[in-house]
Every structure is written in structure tokens, then in C-alpha cells.
Symmetry: D2
Subunit: 337 residues, 4 copies
């Protein structure tokens, strides 16, 4: 199928915006361990009110032990999500990680180097949760229909494959579902994406890519969690193959680069990310940000960029199940040269 | 970039649903010429009220001379679309082509074999039309803002490339923007997609693929037009690289296969297509149809299909600029084996 | 409750836009009878392709025998709508009625004088139809939930009351659910509202009001049907108290008044009507048309009108269940003086 | 016009849910003064992290000095909102007010007794803010159009009238735009409505009504602000007649009444309130909550309630300009007897 998902190399990073404009500029820093023990209590709301667990310098590497989105509560296919999950204590995040020197108006760059599964098998979990997902009435698209049945799927995951069923084996396509810097004064539950990042559930946000997040508080306050071993476009049933990982990131800081929404860079494309409802608004945000980006930093005329993206823009539907939906709009780097 | 668009071979067609279930079953029929002269007046509304221009048997080939979406009215970059285009006389279609033996409850299969550009250079046209496109107030998303400027872009197109600008050359990625069978009693302007097909603007609908359309009137009444030499996901400015072609299709008929929405098949995936507003509803329709398809014809349990697509479903955003937005939801054939 | 629905007097009509600007100018014309026998086959699609049943002059009165939206098929509370109703043969319309002298660019005025129930009791019908209504997954908001149960409610209706249940008696608040002029070349099923009118399901469209519809074909081609004995804002379950009536209308023609969307006038307010999805777009259309109307015909500055409606504009939600949703935006005539 | 807005008497309060089920049960308590001095710094985000300014017992009265939504920064019609307003420091709130004994699972009742304008004339402010409002591209409905012009309107307001212009005088129809209890762990900017209340901008929320808010943290933490001297349905330009007031409220507590979304009661109707995007989802939430309310507390069969609201439900569009849109769905008390 043509819309293949693939993993990106790390070798291109020296040419990334992160390395070209970051404070560290590609130089290696210290490696920090953000284990479960260091993290202690995981975080469910992304804001400026929680206590930092770590402070890093631009260029530092952090090895993070993420928990799955259910914090390990769903252990068996006989479990009932409705009995084990309690809103809003879902989607546990590691952090906040403070970045030295980060101030509002700057941008943090997060390079995901690797994501390694951890924990006993079957370590992957998918499920159907009442009134959650795209093909059901929900909390917001409120209907009087009976909810869909609750279902749990426990899945073996290794660094090559996701063993979905006897019939179907999927490739391992790891990515981070939730990555954020703190909003200025609000605190947003970790289930919701917005202009701070959050629960974007964007399959492109995997090893070999760099995510850029706007800094809105001193120290940036990075939160990370919600690893997926695979996820389809839109995350239609509401849940990916959720699993615990050891995820290694490198953090850098780009001073005085004020972006409004998160952005992503891979070896061969740049992507602007929007999160909103309805879905067309998420797509509008992403494409408008991409037009502005091409105009301001790649020398395109605004209307040329707009019409050209109408011929070669690429859209990734992250999710259309979370409280806001997420879309990435991308353009190939070969057209930016 | 990973979301590459590619062209499909025709060699897999013998294994397609069309060949396996169609009346012709892959046997070659007569070749018909639907030239401009045969077509005479082009059609702007898709319904049961227009006079057929051709009748074909299942298995027949039709060589169609499509006009561009502006019927050639925009000739120069100095032209003003607002002075040359008049609603609803836009997006001219060839047809209706009657299919012998087609009855409501059947499905028509349209295999696009090839799309060859025709006409003098620069034969491709893109433009910005007042209150049309995704990043502007529109007729429906009614605002009081001044419209964006009108712009016209004339583009050289050959069978290898679309010469967008001095800076950017795009690959030739031809596809049919508007493909339909007639609704039962309504007649829908050729700018609008819906469950009859219509103006889907789906970049996958190119050479080497088969589109399946529900038959709702005797004879099916196929309409075709709106060729694009390239188009980005979502067709963000509202217009692709519109151009005239000689398009060759083969038509077959699958008796007693009642589908509700259009479907598309390529060598390596199957795709269900939904058109609606808001965009999440188009996506819901596409994914629900895909779940039903997997359940009814590939032996999947409904909930297994739903959860599995949450891991490996692929979404193509056709357009989010037309009166209804179009989304394709696809799954790789390798997971259907 | 403050959002009361009331019936309007006919006495103000001499001061209406219809009488001040219409060809007839308030003069009485001939009275025509459009009985079931004269109508013959009722119409399910609003377009230029059906055969006229009547031609009237501006100022003429027409006494119309409307059928209920189910064409009388639902006779008992034991009936199953799914067994008796067949898409798209729903919502039968009377017409087309040709208006002498009507040309594209004109506006037709339809003054509803009275609506009298007819037929044996219980003559009112409400029901719950599978995958139709606001609080259920639907054809477009496609879900995998089990449909809601089918329910039928037969209701006594007289000119004072709607006898809903032993517990609840509602006032008789008659109005026309579907009122249209033909689109230019399309034909739109009678279940869908759009800029031609159609299935607006707007409770204000009752006796004592005038509806203005844009003329898009010679003769205008008026269609009317779908009487409701009462309806709440939004028609939440998808169905009002549907019933057959003798409805008396007077038709006039306003030359060279080109409106884009339907409008409504009562003794004390003017209302612009928009139909679209999502619901905010219907509301945007209605409010934008109202701003334009105040600017062009009542001498308001555009921004003053916009800000003033932010203080005193009134919104009626007609339906949010039909293929497009309908909203009226209104302003009191006392502020237009 | 029929959709009149009126002010409600306080005399019916003894029969309200608040008095019948509240801890105070209609008994008068202490009167507290929440002056500007007591408040000190106003609050811009609704959450559990700010320091309480007052603790009250059920039945207590609080006299609150609200500031206008711009905190008085817009003083002249020559002011530019873009130079004076800084996100997210808008819509200043008084509070948090702690309610003794309030626990998650309870409901707080806020009876608005009176709203008296304060401050020098012209004390009312309306304006057009860049990329904010319903008839313009916005932060979320992202377009490339030039923003609408910035406009400021300063308006005389007294307890009888809002002197909009030389031409138009509007009645004084005071109401509270923003009323909240704290979310459990999130903190939501005061511009956004959601299931905690927030910036609902519902014109019904005026003197003589009672608003019910779900308690999600110990002590409830009430926030109040954003007084409007008048507001049309939908608040179309984004801003009402914003003004400073002395607002008097009485607070009561209903133990073990767990509501999911805010509710409102007046002398003659009950209303459920939903906030979401798109607008149909806000309306769905409101109507579903109303169906549940009628079923659980007024003895209606679910399907009877659903079909009956399709005949007599009333919808108020609060706003369709804020980050989430707000709708109230109401039913007359006379049908609940």
C-alpha cells in the first residue's frame, strides 16, 4: 500500500534544524536516567504546577521509562477497562523535565533516538473503551445508543513485530503518543492535544525524528509518555498498541524561535501539526502553519506555497478520537531546496 | 517523505475483485471512443435526467477525452477566474455512459488504464478562486473577511512531470477527480461528492486502480471528468493541476454486489471512501465501510477488524474544500490474506 | 419558558416586504385548489425536471392538500418504520407550482395564511427511525452501535392542541417543514435543505409569516409539503408531529431582488436562514446574510450591524438531524426602524 | 419577535431544586463582600491551584465586584484591542470561593439575585478582536484572509437600558458569562467553557435563575466573572456588552447529586448545558443530559422524553465563538408536572 509507515534513520540529524539552530548544535551532553523510581508518581495533567523531576542542559540525552497509557492496569483479555480505568487518571506522563535556559518565545527540540519495549509479554495492550473511539457515540458526540462491547487485546511486541493475531503480524512502528511543553497558566489533561503538544497520537513521531515544541514557561517543562508499538491513521478504535518502553531522547533548545504549534522534522520532510475539532480545523491549522513556515524560512511567496501544497502537500491523520483531533501537514524537503 | 504517492501497475488486474466477480471476468470487449465531438455538450450535474452518449457492455474499453475542470476557460495567468467561471457550470463531465445489464443493487467497476495529457502547453491550470479553498472563508464557512486574491498558475505537464515553477518540479501523478454513477432520483452538481461518487478528488484514483460505484438506476449512467496531473492531500487551495486528457477506462459490472459508498482497489490495498461534512464524518463513513467490508468478505470478526484498523488503517484525505469532504480508509491486502 | 413559540397574525401583511415590493402588491388574485387529485403523484426531489401541476400569477392564493412526511404509511403504533419507509421516497411534496413572470434573479414570496389539519384521528405521527435523529449514530455520523429501538407515536391533533400523551398536551403550532424553489440544474431530495429552501424544519415558518425564496429557474417552481403540528428546536429525535393539512398560501413575486439564501419575515422580526454542516456553518451563513441584509436594505454600517447582532441577534435552531442542518438568525424590527 | 429574552423574578426560588434539595434549604446565611480589594489579583485559569479568597457556608450570600472581560483596559473607542489585550490574561474571574462541605459527587447551586452596573460611564464595552468571532477566520478556523478591522464600541449602561447607538437602544438584560467550579486536576483558561462551566456566555444565566455546577474538588472552588449587560444568541462578533458589576449571589450545596454538565433553572423551565465543537456536539450533549434528567428525576420513559423534546424542546445558542461552543436545551416546567 502506498501510505507506508516507515522508521527513520538517525544519521540525518546533523542536518536538522535542531542541530543547525540549537544551543548545543549537535554536541553531545550528559545522559540522564528518568527511571520509574526517579519519576515516582506519574503525571496526568500538563501544566506549570507539578514538581520537576529532572533538569537538563541543551544537548543532554534522557533515557526515559515510559509506562503504557493504562499504567499497566490492563493485564488480561478478561479485564474490563471500565472497572480498571478512572478518569482523569489516564495516560501517565514522565516529567516535567526542565531545560536550562528555556524561556517563553523559544522552542524545544526533542530528538527521539530509540524506543525499546520493556516489561513482560504480552506487553502490548489494545482495548475498546465505552463511549470512546471514532465509530461510537462518545462523551461529546453524545448519543443514546448502547455502548459498544468492552474488549481487551493483549499483544506480544518485540523490536521487529507486533503479533496482532494468529492471522496478522504487523511491523513494529514505535512512536510517542504524547509529548508536550507546559502551557503558560493552564493545565491540560494528558488525553488532550493542543498547541502545547499533548496527546497528538501521530505515528510519525518515532525514532529518527525531531519534534519542535513552543516554550511557554521558564524551563519549558517537557512531559513525555504514551508509547505506541503501532498505530493506524486516526487511531480509529481509540487505542493503539500501548506498551511500556525505554525511550531515549536528546533535547536541544532553539532560542528566539517562536512557533505557535508543534512541528516535526524527519530526514525527508517537514510537518506542521494542528489539533482541534472539527477535523477540518485541525487540518487548516496544520496547513496554515506549513504555509507560514515555507514563507518565513524557505523563501516562498505565500500564495505560491498555498497553491503548491495543493499539489504536493501530505496529510497524516494522527487521531480523530481524542478530545481534540490531530493532523500533520507535510512537504518533502526536496521541494524546499 | 513517507507518504509517497505512486502509480500502480495494471498487471495485477487479473487478480482484482473486478476480474474475479465481474460479468466480463477480465475478458476484453469492444473499444469505444468518447471524443469531444461524441460527447457534444459536457454535463454539470450527475443524475438520471441527461441523455446517454454511449452504451457499453461489461468488459468494454472507453477512450474518453476529458476537459479540464474549467472547460479550458482559463488560458493565461492574467485571467480572472471570477470573470470566466460561472456556477454551476463548472467541472464538465463526460457521459452518461450506459452499462448494459446494470440494475440497482449491482456495482460498476471502472478500471483506469491510462491518462495521457492532451492539448497545447501550458496545459495545466491551478488557481485561487474567491471564497473557495480550505484556508479562506467560503460560501458555507461564511465570513466577512476580504477574499484572498485571485491567482492563476499555468503549468507545463507531460507524462513524466508537472513543471510547477522554476524552483519546483513535481512528478506526474495523474488521477480522475470526479467519477460517478447516477443517484436514483436526485441530480447532484459535479462539484459535490457523495455516496454516488462525484467530485472526490482522491489522488489514489489513478491509472492501475479500480473504482467500484453503486448502481442506483438502470444502466448505471457513468460520468467521468476532472483529471488532475497532481494533487496534494486535501487539495488545500481548492484546485489541483487541472488538465485535459485522453483517459482510457475498462468497465465491468458486478451483479448483486450492493455497496453503499464508492470503493477503490489497487494492487496492494483496498479502500473505502466516504464524503461528508464535517471531516470526521467522512472519515467515520470510510472506516465503517471498511470494517463492514472486512467482516463480510474477508472473514474478520467486526471488533477484531475495528481494533486492527486502529493499528494499521491508512487514511487518504482526498479533499477538504468541496461541498462535501472526501476521505479514503485503506488496509493493506497483505493483512487480508 | 422564555423561548416561547407563538402564532403570528396575518394583519401585518400589508406592511410586509412582500406587499411593499411584490408585483401584486397586496392585491388579491385567483384562488387555486391543489388537491391530492390535482397533484396526482407527489414529488420527492426538488428540481427542474418534474412536470408542473399548476401555474399561478403573483397575488394568487393556493389551497394545498399536503400529505404527512410518511405519505400516510405509518398508521399504527405497532408499525415498523423500517418496513414501511423506503428511501428516497419520503417527504412527499406538492408542486411544482409555476409563478408567471418569475426569472432567475427574482425572489418568490410565500405567505402562509393558514394550516388546517385534515384526515382521520389520530392524524399526527412521530417516530424513531433507525440511524436517524440527533442522539444516535447515523448514515453520516457512522458508528458501529446498535440502532435505537424503532418507536411510533400516533397523536390526536386539532386546531388548538397536540395531545402528546396522557401527561402532556402541547399547543398547536403548525408550520411548513419543507418549502422550496427549484435549483438551476440540480435536483435535491426533499429531505435536504440548502440555499433553495428544502427541508428546513423551521418552526417559525407557520401561519402569519412570509418566506422569501430565490428564483433560479424560469417560473420559480415552488414545492411545498411536510407540515408539522408542533416541533421543538432542532427536531431532536428527527421527526416532528407530522400530519396532513389543508394549507393556504398566497404567492407573490419580487422582481430583481436576488437573495442567496431563504429569508423569513414575521410581524416583528426578519430572519435569514442558512443550511449546512457542521451546525456552526449554518449559523454563520444565517448571520452573514442578516448582516448583509441590514447593510443593504436598512442602512446599517456593516461592522455596526455585526457588533449589534452580537447584543440582540436571535437564533432559531430548525433542525440538526437532516442531511444539512438549518438555523435562522433574526433581528427585531423595532431595531430596524 | 418571538424569541424574547426576559428577566426572571426571584420569587419562585422557594420552589427551586436548590431550595428543595440544598443543605441550606432556602434559609438565609451570612452575607460576604468579595470586593476588588478582597479579591486582589483576578484569576485567568479555572483550576485547583489558586488560593481561595473566601469560604462560605451553604445558604450564604456573596456580593461580588466583577470586572469587565478586558479588566477595564479598553477605555476609548480609539483603543486598539491588539495593543491592550494579552492572551491568556483575559476574562478576569473572582474566586475561588470555597463552599464548606462540598465534595466530589455533590452539586453547587448558584442563585444570581441581582446584577448592578458599577463604574463610570460609558461602562459598557464591545469590540471586534482580530481573528476572534464567528464571521471571521480564527485561531482554530485558520485562514489566510486579512483579519477584520479592529473596532471598539463604548456604551452607556444603566439598570434599564443599553444605549447601543443613536439609532438603537437595547433593554438591560444582565447575565453572567463565566461561572465555574474547579476541574479535578486540570486548570482551564477562563475563555473556555466545558463540563465545569466556564465561559458559557449563556444569556439565560441572569438574575432570577439558579445554575447548578458539578463539584469535582473538595470545597468546589467557585469562580465568577464576565458580566454582560446584553448579549445576542451566539455572541456573533465574539464580544457582548462587557461591563463591571456588583453581582449578588446565594450559594447552596446539594449533597450526592452528581451531575455531569452544568444545568440552569428558571421559574418556568429547566435547562441542560453542553459545550463542545462542532456546535452539533454541544447541542447533543445538552439534549442528552436533558433526556437523562427527565428520565431520572421526572419519571419520563427515555424514548418518550426524546420524542417529546422533538416537539417542545427549546434551544439557546450561548456562544459559537469561544474555544468551545455552548448550547442550552430546555423544557417548560409545565410539561414536567
Amino acid at each position: 500500500m502506498e501510505l507506508v509507515m516507515r522508521q527513520y534513520p538517525n544519521s540525518w540529524i546533523a542536518d536538522s534544524i535542531m542541530c543547525k539552530r540549537g544551543v548545543a548544535g549537535g554536541a553531545s551532553g550528559t545522559t540522564h536516567e528518568l527511571t520509574e523510581a526517579v519519576q515516582g508518581t506519574y503525571i496526568y495533567t500538563i501544566g506549570p504546577y507539578s514538581t520537576p523531576v529532572l533538569t537538563v542542559k541543551p544537548g543532554d540525552r534522557v533515557v526515559v521509562e515510559t509506562k503504557d497509557a493504562f499504567e499497566g492496569a490492563i493485564k488480561s483479555e478478561d479485564d474490563k477497562p471500565s472497572e480498571l480505568l478512572k478518569m482523569p487518571f489516564l495516560n501517565p506522563q514522565c516529567g516535567p523535565i526542565m531545560v536550562e535556559g528555556a524561556e517563553p518565545g523559544d522552542t524545544v527540540a526533542v530528538h527521539i533516538e530509540s524506543m525499546v519495549p520493556r516489561g513482560p509479554q504480552p506487553r502490548g495492550t489494545c482495548c475498546m473503551i465505552k463511549e470512546f473511539g471514532a465509530l461510537t457515540g462518545t462523551y461529546y458526540t453524545a448519543t443514546l445508543n448502547e455502548p459498544l462491547p468492552e474488549k481487551v487485546r493483549k499483544v506480544h511486541v518485540d523490536e521487529q513485530h507486533v503479533y496482532w493475531s494468529d492471522r496478522v503480524t504487523l511491523p513494529y512502528r514505535p512512536h510517542i503518543g504524547t509529548l508536550s511543553c507546559s502551557p503558560e497558566i493552564d493545565s491540560i489533561n494528558s488525553l488532550t492535544p493542543d498547541n502545547h503538544g499533548g496527546n497528538m497520537d501521530l505515528p510519525d513521531m518515532g525514532p529518527g525524528t525531531v519534534t519542535y515544541l513552543p516554550v511557554r514557561t521558564p524551563g519549558a517543562r517537557i512531559f513525555i509518555g504514551d508509547a505506541h508499538a503501532s498505530q493506524g491513521d486516526g487511531e480509529v478504535c481509540g487505542v493503539a498498541v500501548e506498551y511500556p518502553t525505554v525511550t531515549t531522547i536528546t533535547v536541544d533548545l532553539i532560542k528566539n524561535w517562536a512557533i505557535e504549534w508543534p512541528r516535526l522534522e524527519a530526514d525527508d520532510f517537514i510537518m506542521a501539526i494542528g489539533s482541534a475539532r472539527p477535523l477540518e480545523d485541525a487540518t487548516r491549522i496544520a496547513y496554515r502553519e506549513l504555509v507560514y513556515w515555507m514563507e518565513r524560512e524557505y523563501g516562498f511567496d505565500r500564495w505560491d506555497a498555498y497553491m503548491m501544497l495543493s499539489q504536493c502537500g501530505k496529510v497524516r491523520l494522527g487521531n480523530f478520537v481524542d478530545p481534540k483531533y490531530t493532523v500533520g501537514a507535510a512537504v518533502s524537503k526536496k521541494y524546499l531546496a
